[in-house]
């Protein structure tokens, strides 16, 4: 009985188990895509290793943590004693970025709400294209506007001796960051499903109530992400702040003080230093600092956009 049923089973065809062309193509594509995917990580690590290596001698040798972070004196070429304190530079970058956000947040949020919630059809498309165009303006052009237009304007309006200062750079940087922030904020608002709006509207919410009570809370992660990205942008911007801040070392006490930014310092001085000198290595240490801070800000932005942070 058992014998019989065993014979009745047809021979199994195992011919399918060959590594044919399709299999190799599939494997090859997998490898290529994987390489593409990790290349970003490789580059990031590569860059980090490079700047760390260049700044390394300073970090293990002359580096004085207290002086570096808490001294306002950046005197890399002093005859009797070189000082590498970046406190004033941090203050410069922070004050300009802070003011830039004060300018950019209302502009970009307002623009995003208008584009996403009020504008329709052609107006919408036109505005979106315009915002993208604005985002594509090179930073040197913004710097030029700061130098050639804002400078005399500030001198005349506020009757101050110099117009290259926190105010100038903050406004320039704010206008610069606003388009990209608008784009991202608008994406966040658009990602709020229409059924939420419909549900609120059906309850008799006015248009403003719908935006204020439902859409903005629903999009708050994305909006916060947009702001953090703007902050990251402000932190990393070099050319425009180099041109508009006045580039003088100062811990600002008013918006009319000239300041100097971390990035601008690297850009202005790196070309004049001897490779491997303390000055050179200190500039790279600033680079490491910028890298780490920007990394943290972007990471935060990313986490916030994804809503990993609860609430």
């Amino acid at each position: 009985m058992e014998q019989q049923s065993r014979q009745a089973v047809p021979r199994l065809d195992s011919d399918f188990d060959r590594l044919n062309r399709d299999w190799y193509i599939d494997k090859a594509v997998q490898v290529l895509v994987f390489l593409g995917g990790i290349s970003a990580i490789v580059f990031i690590i590569g860059i980090f290793v490079f700047i760390t290596k260049e700044g390394f001698g300073f970090l293990v040798g002359d580096f004085n943590f207290r002086e570096f972070f808490f001294s306002p004196n950046w005197r890399p070429t002093s005859e009797n004693r070189e000082t590498f304190g970046i406190l004033a530079l941090i203050a410069g970058t922070a004050s300009v970025t802070g003011l830039a956000m004060l300018v950019a947040i209302p502009f970009s949020l307002g623009a995003a709400v208008f584009i996403a919630e009020f504008a329709s059809g052609k107006t919408r498309e036109f505005l979106k294209v315009t915002v993208e165009l604005l985002a594509a303006i090179p930073s040197v052009v913004w710097g030029f506007i700061g130098l050639a237009m804002m400078n005399p304007l500030i001198i005349k309006t506020f009757n101050v001796p110099v117009g290259l200062n926190v105010l100038n750079a903050g406004i320039i940087l704010g206008l610069m960051a606003a388009p990209i922030m608008t784009s991202i904020a608008e994406d966040a608002l658009k990602a709020v499903p229409d059924r939420y709006r419909e549900a609120a509207e059906a309850m008799g919410a006015t248009r403003w109530q719908v935006i204020y009570k439902v859409v903005l809370p629903a999009a708050k992660n994305g909006l916060l992400g947009a702001v953090l990205l703007g902050v990251g942008r402000g932190f990393g911007e070099t050319m425009a702040v180099l041109m508009a801040t006045g580039h003088s070392i100062n811990i600002p006490t008013s918006v009319f003080d000239s300041v100097r930014a971390l990035t601008a310092t690297i850009a202005a001085e790196l070309g004049e230093t001897a490779a491997g000198s303390s000055h050179y290595q200190a500039l790279f240490t600033i680079g490491i600092f910028l890298f780490v801070v920007t990394f943290i800000i972007n990471l935060l932005a990313d986490l916030v956009v994804r809503g990993v942070r609860k609430g």
Binding site: E198, A199, A202, M203, G204, K213
Partner: protein
């Protein structure tokens, strides 16, 4: 102001909550619904049945003026609410606040459970926390959801299960203190047990509010509705006492075919 009940209805002297006359709805050039003339009385459950694309949802949208959001949608004819022409009300938000809507798919707004239910009172300007607490608890209880969420009122409404979200939607609609509650195929995304619980809630609500129940389940209309309209292919084929549609006289044979499940 009350519009006189239509001719032929002598058994009830109930006031007309919603009067519809010569309603026609079109999207662009395409007519979605036409020839609808009917009255919905105060404190009744008025069923609307019919196959997909019959125009049921469009009917509800016309009532609370949701056509305003769709430039394609045009509404002709007359719809009165409490005797007032809804086309002519100046404050459409005020109108909508008196009409609660429950959509086919539950919409738990991405706010906390509490804020979902407190939203409508807050839109009205209620700020007193104690007052809001009372409203939230009452509406959640009435929607048969309180016991399940009372310990986690601050979780996101959109995190609840589908059936819970649908009851949350109902609680939110109730928090409007509506005079008219419109439900559009509410049981589509809800399990049978929850459906039964919501049906029980609706039976109780009948004492206080007028209900329009659009449903794709004819038996649900039979269980709940006092009177029922049958929509088919953009026309109102029949309006009558619900039980008559199933067992009594019908004006149109297609009505009987539909409720008996012979098509649709």
């Amino acid at each position: 102001m009350v519009i006189a009940p239509p001719q032929g209805v002598t058994t009830t002297e109930r006031p007309v909550k919603l009067g519809v006359a010569g309603l026609r709805i079109r999207y662009g050039e395409q007519t979605a619904l036409e020839g609808v003339t009917l009255d919905v009385y105060e404190h009744e459950i008025f069923g609307v049945i019919g196959p997909a694309n019959a125009g049921k949802t469009s009917f509800l949208k016309a009532i609370n003026r949701m056509d305003m959001f769709n430039t394609d949608m045009h509404v002709e004819g007359q719809i009165t609410f409490n005797g007032l022409d809804t086309r002519k009300v100046r404050n459409v938000y005020g109108l909508r606040r008196r009409i609660g809507v429950v959509f086919p798919l539950p919409v738990g707004l991405p706010l906390s459970v509490y804020d979902n239910v407190a939203l409508s009172p807050r839109l009205r300007g209620e700020k007193n926390r104690a007052e809001l607490d009372v409203i939230v608890e009452r509406c959640l209880r009435r929607a048969a959801l309180w016991d399940e969420v009372k310990d986690r009122l601050d979780t996101l409404g959109s995190m609840l299960s589908g059936g819970q979200q649908q009851r949350l939607t109902i609680a939110r609609a109730l928090s409007q203190d509506p005079e008219l509650l419109m439900l559009d195929e509410f049981s589509i995304a809800v399990d049978p047990v929850t459906t039964m619980r919501i049906e029980d809630v609706l039976k109780e609500l009948r004492q206080e509010v007028t209900i329009i129940l659009v449903t794709n389940l004819v038996q649900q209309a039979r269980r709940l509705a006092d009177r029922t309209a049958f929509f088919l292919d953009g026309r109102c084929v029949e309006v009558g006492v619900t039980e008559d549609l199933f067992t009594g006289e019908v004006q149109d044979q297609r009505t009987r075919d539909y409720v008996d499940g012979r098509f649709g």
